[in-house]
Amino acid sequence: MNDKILQVASRTDAGRVRKFNEDSVGADIGAGLVAVADGLGPQRGAEAASRIATATVLERLRDHGALAPRVALREALGHADRAIRDKAATDPALKGMGSTLSVAWFHHGRVLMGHVGDSRIYRLRGPRLERLTSDHSFLNEYATGQFTTEELRRSHSRQLVTRALGVSDEVVPDFSEQEVEVGDVYMLCSDGLHDLVEDADIGQALELLQPNLELIAETLVAMANDRGGRDNVSVAVVRIAPRAVSVAEPARGEGRGMFGWLRAMMGR
């Protein structure tokens, strides 16, 4: 199981309209963990909530003790849900805060995914881009059958999410698991990307720029900002590379925001 290595690049950006960045990206390559969260509610609370979401999940999974991975993932999301609720209860200014979360955990040749809200996980395998998560959003869950594609593009309900961490008595996340293959590219993003950028363009960036993950992250953020950048945008790109190939580290870009270029073994 030591035939694959994980390469990751990530970036988060406030966008072109908002003053604050309420998204968070977390990655722990040694532990095979990548997470993207999009905070909601009052501004200060939204920032806090998304940070709690990514930090809690990474911390709980980094050291999951004797728990089976699937159990540990469920437990970690439940813990993040409660941590946000508990924090909100300490300060009236934080009331109403919550967060989406998408987390991918690469583990022994498999990827375990958990998500709440409308942050997505995509996978490029060969030339084919697939959404691995189904948005917990009003339009996706209740209205896609009632609207034409053109109406969905112009809907005012695009920002309505139906589930988030920290906002209800107990969150119900979705989980899935699959085997990874060498050459797969996984991409986690907040809705700041997929609200503005078509899957076809996302797929092109992942496929054509594959040797340069840092450039992929920069490109996806640029695509969203080129189309108005109306929301914070965060992306984390993961490539499954064969161990035998040594991968040259690309030169650093001069962009803003968080930047990472790391690699690690899969399976410990």
């Binding site: 896609t144 594609t149 109406e151 112009r154 340069n212």
Partner: protein, 221 residues
């Protein structure tokens, strides 16, 4: 909350806020907006709430409903739409929906609270938002190498050139023009100078050297 401004031949008749889950329009006395004309059907049309959207539906009226001059049976209302039923005009006003407003922030709603109980048709994959952005039209022409004389349009977001595994360069189509970046291998040269990391602007007439090829960007217009 959106409203309908109802008029007939330029005379303002009423302003009606759409405050419930449904607003009915017609000649019958139980309609929310009454249009008193025998040619208007008793229950002519209605506006339904769907999430934060308002959908106009013609209820099989005898004389039809139009929006901005187009006959409709169902229409997702947008701020400023002009609904016409015979001689009546109803302007749909929804200032809050205009981009940049507070309605733009992500909100959590109770599942199904704002939706009718069943979906009307098969689910559609969620597309990206409609955005008013235009992209330039450009192409690359080979001026050296095996493909000399060939021209390829830059019709998609990204195009790559060079030898995979060797030296590869990408060109990125953006509203502001085109950008170039090294994807792998040695950085390519643009007008003789190596390209720094990340996207760099590429102007019409710029020469890009990648592998043994030279490409020239040509931007139309």
């Amino acid at each position: 909350m959106p409203k309908l401004v109802v008029s007939r031949e330029g005379n303002l008749l009423a302003t009606r806020f759409i405050d419930g889950m449904r607003l009915t329009i017609g000649r019958a006395t139980d309609c929310d907006v009454r249009l008193e004309d025998v040619a208007v059907s008793k229950h002519h049309a209605q506006i339904e709430v769907l999430g934060k959207d308002y959908v106009l539906r013609d209820l099989g009226s005898a004389n039809g409903t139009s929006v901005n001059g187009q006959e409709v049976t169902r229409h997702l209302l947008q701020h400023g739409d002009l609904i016409r039923v015979l001689g009546f005009e109803m302007r749909y006003v929804d200032h809050k929906s205009v981009a940049g407003g507070d309605g733009d922030r992500t909100m959590v709603i109770e599942g199904g609270a704002l939706a009718p109980p069943q979906a009307a048709g098969p689910a559609t994959a969620m597309p990206a938002r409609a955005v008013d952005v235009t992209y330039p039209t450009g192409s690359v022409r080979w001026t050296a190498g095996a493909r000399t004389g060939e021209t390829v349009p830059l019709a998609r977001a990204i195009a790559t050139f060079g030898d995979p595994g060797g030296q590869v360069v990408a060109i990125f189509r953006r509203p502001s023009g085109f950008s170039v970046a090294a994807v792998e291998g040695q950085p390519p040269r643009v007008n003789g100078k190596p390209v720094p990391p990340g996207w760099q602007p590429l102007a019409s007439g710029d020469r890009v050297n990648v592998g043994g090829d030279e490409l020239v960007l040509e931007i139309a217009g």
